[in-house]
Symmetry: C5
Subunit: 338 residues, 5 copies
């Protein structure tokens, strides 16, 4: 999608949901609400506040968040419109946007843009649709598993990005499985179905690439320490995500090469089949055309055709035709045509 | 077009129009004129002055503007000739030139070069033809909507470039639509018409690329703060346009890959069709050549052909031919030739 | 040509011509000579001295110029041998070499290497052959048109390079025209002639690229202010030539893509034609092979063939053959084979 | 493999083996153990301690190593998951991971990830599977051959990486041999078998590239002196490995080009064969179709066909057919169709 | 070759030859020897000493040279193994290695690795085989032609590299000649022989590229002044060689494009031929199949076939067949099939 306008059907409007999770080492609180005014009163200055918005259809809510967090108008534009992944440092916060991938029905891939605003003690996340990959992680925060309750908002951002990037591996694994699957059949059976599978793989890789290359650039900005909202001690975590993205890009390039190799194999198998067809045609024609000519000769009605009166003429003709047939077969066998 | 000379038909000469819009927070004034001397007297030193020239055919007007704004001869050359998009800092102003895209009749794309000279309190814009994308924006200035009346000339330049770049999205959306449209038909029907559509898409993307890559470079110059005529506080706006152009370039590359994927599908569909044709030919030949040979045998006029005198000879021949026919059909069915 | 030795036939030797143009705001003098000793006495220390040498066959003259201007032996080697375009700063002068393009008979392109040595008050130019693109410009110097008489030797160098680069546009325009011309015919008529035209275009673009990319690098060296022999104030002029070369390279890349697109169209048209031929063959074979088989059946000479004795047997056979013919036609029409 | 989880079958669990080799100029000690607690007590602070772990299935052991050497959790994640080759400097050690290549049965290639943690007096190596390339080198340490006993842990790391990289040469040599082998047969015999061999070569090169490019980047980090755990004096050794990896990459690129050249040759040979088949078909058809037509003419049963009654009609027809045959042969011979 | 081990047959062992040339402005001395101990006593501290070794089979000699000049073990490894061209600065000398190209029998190309160690007053050169390109240059030193006797060891290194690089031009010229030669024939005669020539050209260019790109990098290191063993005043000379290598790389890329253009022409010529063959087949079939059908009709043996009894039936059939023939010819002529 290149459209700047938000791509969203009106039925998702009731799905607009605001959620606040605030925590520190000791405390944990979670509030769901559709009223931003009420929700924002619960922000705790001495805790990490994660405000999550599902659904971008309610401009009213977004404007209230914008006013509360002093969000720059350009930032809000970027949240609402389809954007390439990027990290952008503003005076009071860091803006980070990327694509979240879902598998739908286990076959096609769905993209959702997710944007983050990271301040000193808050993280606002904007999602296009309800439902995300973070359910298990929310539970880990509540139960105080892992380090997240001991860390600040930048670590929270790292964890969320890491979960999204980890999900890319799932998508790539599926691509790898399909490649293996195609490879087993393409040599034997270069069907159109195989060809379409290869094409749809290529398409998925094209879209993945569009999501991943800018993401790597965005992460590299943070890794270089250009943001003051990511603490020195936590840069290593973002560096790790950066390595994962690089690894995924490598794998993607590898898959791209394998896919184009599959294309070559498909084309070669098609050509081999065609060659085979042509050989059958040629063998049949080359054998039967001379024979048909011969029998045609003795089907002529000339009055004076001495052979016709020979007693064994008929058998002689069969003999000649048999010789032609056998020598043809030897010739084609030598040429390895069948 | 590579020609340096201006590409313009004489009939557009009467279309040469000078327009001055000067404004600040309180005041707004708009003057249309064909007399530069008179128009230039209305420039307000304490306001933002936007001088717009439609049509480059009247050298006289251009020379008067050149004299008034002390434009460098090389700059004027660049305005008059086809130029690659660029930003160039002169002592007294910033020069910026890019391509404006129009859709004509909703199908083909028209390019127009637009050049800007940005000074501390003025912006001069040079357009090749009458009519532009700014009509709605002029109205917004007049009605004091948005921030433009509160800002300086550099913000005006940003808005104009942003409007032009936004229009690129429209062009790309159309390319995306055509790709979707072709994709639906190309698997089934690899017609030449489809092929020509793919080719014209490729051509549009080739020209787009030529317009966009240098534009990104030009914007990056401004984003890096190399120009003193774009204020620190407004660089973020140009940075936003820069991101849009990067996004468009990403999409363009994606579309390029999709287009070449469409080509592969088209070629494969062509080959599949060809294969099908060859198979029909081979099946028909392989079945009827032996049969025709057999009936030819019994069309021979030898005096001594015992089979001819058999009572059921004719039926035996039909039986043999039936057997050949059926075994051929089984053979081809096994080979999945039809 | 990769050869380091000078590519020159002995007949051009008499064409070796030395020319000196010295000028400043007030004075202008032009001397033609074949005797370097005599000519060099006319150099004016307080004027711009342009020494031009046509023809590199007379080593004697070159050695005298080398001695007079203290030219480095490597520099002289570079002048005499085929060189990639480059700018090289020596202690006492700037060395610049590039390719000059000519159209010969309006069709093929001829390359000539031209080298410049720019000192503080002189410019020496070395050309391989007599005749160049500067005739009109010499006249402009004489008549004191433009700024050249008011400027120094570096501006003279700029003007000469600018004239050479401008001529590249002519060559590219011709390429563009041929592309348009081919595009009109290639869809309908994929002849070999078209194919050869496309190939020769590709070849011209390959050679152009070899001349242009290093030229851009050479100019960028000057634009970055690395040479003390090009004054700060004149760098903008070289920067303008740099932009032109970048523009030409962009156009060249565009043309390269268009050319390979033409190739695709040609190949597709060839394949379409081939498909058409194969369809004709298949249609004809598929219709007439069964028919020929049928008439063969009733050409058999069996004694007992009841159909032969039927009164309307002949007409029945015609009827059956007519049915087969019509159903085949309907089948092929449905498959859109013709 | 893109999976982050460790790819390991449970049967390798018993293969988990811990090994400690500690040495300096005078002393040498080697301990095998499955109990990390016991093993770690044998570390000698004044010697080089090489701790090697074969098999990553026992999380318990890894956690004890992690605790002892204060390994960062991200580092342990990297050891356990499939990782792109990289060098990463931590506060107390340098982390280095790369791929080890094995030839299995002399044909297919097996990859194993090996990770190193280099501290001031220790080197920990993590291998996925039992068995490695270092057996001969362990013996060299024991016998005090070469410089390793006189050097520190960073030299030990260099030697291990060098051994792994040297083994890449073996893999590449094999690729080169197969290319030579294919080249000898592909011109004559473009079989599918050849094609599959080429494809499997391409696949091996694709995977090799994925292992090698990041390895070069990782080594370049060390060569630039970014790690404090590699001493200045030993950087030259890593620089040498870096050169080897560059050389291997060059060779790999060369092989890639040669492989795609083999593909071209294969395709051309296929096409040549196809052409040959088509020519045989065309020659046979072109000769026998007119002849069969002629004999068909004289097989017609018209009452009034004067030729049939001619005495030498039959011989005249043979003569005409002979003429047609000979002129066809001359025609095809001239066209060089056989 | 990727093998690290030296590729050398034992028969070259007797060919191991040591040679010392020492010179300054006044003196010149040349000694051939197979005993390094004796030879090394003749080194003159106040002269330039060029020690040349032909053949790397005698490890003894190499070890003595290593001891005398304090060569680093890694350097000796690099001399003995196949290496990518590189320049490497050690404490006491500069190491430079590159490939020397020979034409063997004027057709195939042979590569030899040559390595240099440049100290303050000596240059050691290691060659794999006897015989090199320097014979003429040795004579120039002896006769004190050119500047070499007036310069130091770094100038000697420049001259030797320059001679090697100059020889690359010869190889490239040959490639250019073959391209021209192929181009003349490929349009008319797309034989397999032409195709193999194109492929062998491609192969040569692939190997050349592998030798040249790293050489340019190595030279650029010296040009940037990174070596203290090349004096400031002589860097210009190396810069000149650098330009030559860049020029050769440009030409190589050009040749690569021309070669792939030749491939396109070859493929097109093949396809055109194939099309021609198919057209002949189709024309013949389309003309004779209907005709054969017609004569088959009147070869049927029905008792009641009125046409057979017509007096001019036979001639009418000929007339109809003539009409069919002529209209087919007109049809194909219109379609430009022949």
């Amino acid at each position: 999608m290149v459209t700047k306008a938000i791509d969203m059907s009106p039925t998702t409007k009731p799905g607009v949901i605001l959620e606040l999770i605030s925590y520190n080492r000791e405390k944990y609180n979670k509030i769901d609400s559709t009223d931003p005014d009420e929700l924002l009163t619960h922000l705790q200055p001495d805790q990490v506040n994660w405000v999550n918005l599902d659904g971008l259809g309610n401009i009213d809510i977004i404007e209230k968040l914008q006013a509360y967090f002093c969000l720059h108008p350009l930032l809000v534009d970027d949240v609402l419109a389809d954007q390439r992944p990027k990290a952008e440092e503003y005076d009071d916060y860091l803006f980070f946007t990327l694509k979240m991938l879902y598998k739908i029905d286990g076959t096609s891939i769905d993209y959702e843009q997710i944007s983050f605003v990271l301040g000193s003690n808050f993280l606002v996340s904007f999602q296009e649709k309800e439902g995300d990959l973070f359910e298990g992680f929310r539970e880990r925060i509540r139960l105080d598993l892992g380090k997240v309750r001991k860390k600040h908002a930048d670590y929270l951002l790292y964890r969320l990005i890491d979960i999204i990037v980890d999900n890319y591996y799932n998508v790539l694994d599926r691509v790898g499985d399909i490649i293996d699957e195609i490879e087993e059949t393409v040599y034997e059976n270069p069907s159109n179905e195989t060809f379409y599978k290869i094409q749809s793989l290529k398409k998925e890789l094209i879209y993945l690439r569009k999501a991943l290359y800018p993401l790597r650039d965005a992460l590299s900005k943070i890794v270089k320490g250009e943001s003051e909202y990511v603490k020195e001690e936590n840069i290593r975590y973002f560096s790790d995500v950066y390595d994962h993205v690089s690894h995924i890009i490598d794998s993607m390039d590898t898959f791209k090469d394998l896919t184009s190799s599959l294309m070559d194999i498909h084309i070669n198998a098609m050509n081999t089949k065609m060659n085979e067809v042509m050989k059958v045609l040629t063998v049949i024609s080359t054998i039967f055309m001379p024979l048909t000519f011969i029998v045609g000769v003795y089907g002529m009605n000339f009055k004076f055709m001495p052979e016709l009166d020979w007693k064994y003429g008929y058998y002689v003709v069969w003999g000649i035709m048999g010789l032609i047939f056998i020598s043809m077969m030897i010739y084609f066998r030598k040429k390895k045509w069948f």
